[in-house]
Symmetry: C2
Subunit: 202 residues, 2 copies
Amino acid sequence: MAQDKETLILEVARKHFVQKGYAATRTQDIADEAGINKALLHYYFRSKEKLYHEITVRILDTILPRFAKALATEGTFWERLEVIVTSYVDLFQEQPDIPFFIMSELSQKQARFVEELKKRSHHFPAVQGFVLSMHQEMEAGNIRKLPPAQLMLNIMGMTVFPFIAKPIFCTVFEFSDNDFSTLMEERKDIIMNFLKAALKND
Amino acid sequence: MAQDKETLILEVARKHFVQKGYAATRTQDIADEAGINKALLHYYFRSKEKLYHEITVRILDTILPRFAKALATEGTFWERLEVIVTSYVDLFQEQPDIPFFIMSELSQKQARFVEELKKRSHHFPAVQGFVLSMHQEMEAGNIRKLPPAQLMLNIMGMTVFPFIAKPIFCTVFEFSDNDFSTLMEERKDIIMNFLKAALKND
DNA sequence: GCCATATTTAACCACAAAGTTAAACACTTT
DNA sequence: AAAGTGTTTAACTTTGTGGTTAAATATGGC
């Protein structure tokens, strides 16, 4: 549970906004589920818009630093890659609704959201840094050559996609939430081995 | 343009619903953009809900058969895999909004949408068929062994994810729509080569 | 006991959006 | 010319929802 009503509201609101999006969320529903009334919502956050903004900001502020940190780790290429993959999987295991929310925000309010993104992240440079390290590894002949953007898509696709596709995947394969969770734990190694095999230079 | 007003409405409505979701879409906006009035909307479709349903049905009816066909192709494992990857990429190149829409529907109205899915598709058996063929190939020692569900996630992740992540990807890598499109064409081969290398049995 | 902050109550307003209707008009077919 | 279908116009009702308010009531620290 929550310490005070204010954070309780934030928690409930977050759940609704992330699951259903802004337009489909009723402030009344948030109030009901938090066991308070609209007047208190107004008291703390003034408006639905402000509440929503507060939530996106908080999400970005928990996610982006972890992304950046993972991308900027010191070490060999393979060490860095492993940190990235495991960090992402761990993060999404904790907060499975995040990836979908981000994608959703981005595909709608692109301009505004990208602004917010740029404002509060050293994320993009971190990506560029890792891309560079991929490139160097290719030039050094340590891994097979392919366009860095494509390799990035392969890595992110294998890592992030399962969490976005979870509902359809669990339906088709008849997996429970627990099954899925253990599959994702296994997956860290699976991805690393897959990448090692795919990138081996012969 | 559209032949008659009815299909024009469907086209405009589809665009709005797919981009913004049900709740954020205004019937008035649809009417305005289609150059007609709400009365005509009502004349043809009775309600927003019915119009929306009509659209999801039409989307599923164009997508699912193509999925099923790709998954059920005859041939060797690698031939089948190539058909799947290229079919998916081609489909999403034509209709880039589809993957996100499907994921979005599924993560919200799971129960109802899955019903609709099951009702109008032989998709699931097709997936099972391909999974079986993966399994046989592993048993025969032709490709490296790994849990079929994991391999499926790798394939789908690399193939589908880029289209979902397009907005963020294009932002980070400063790609235009055209850049992205050519990248996806390249990608068919990239994915196939990546898979071949990753699955090679040594 | 007093004061500040938190919280409830119970209204209420304003507005946007969906849905509805009736009448008229246009166009084509018969 | 009549009939049917498509389409517009212009109103209207209804409902949902966000926002607002003022007063009353707790609650806890000083």
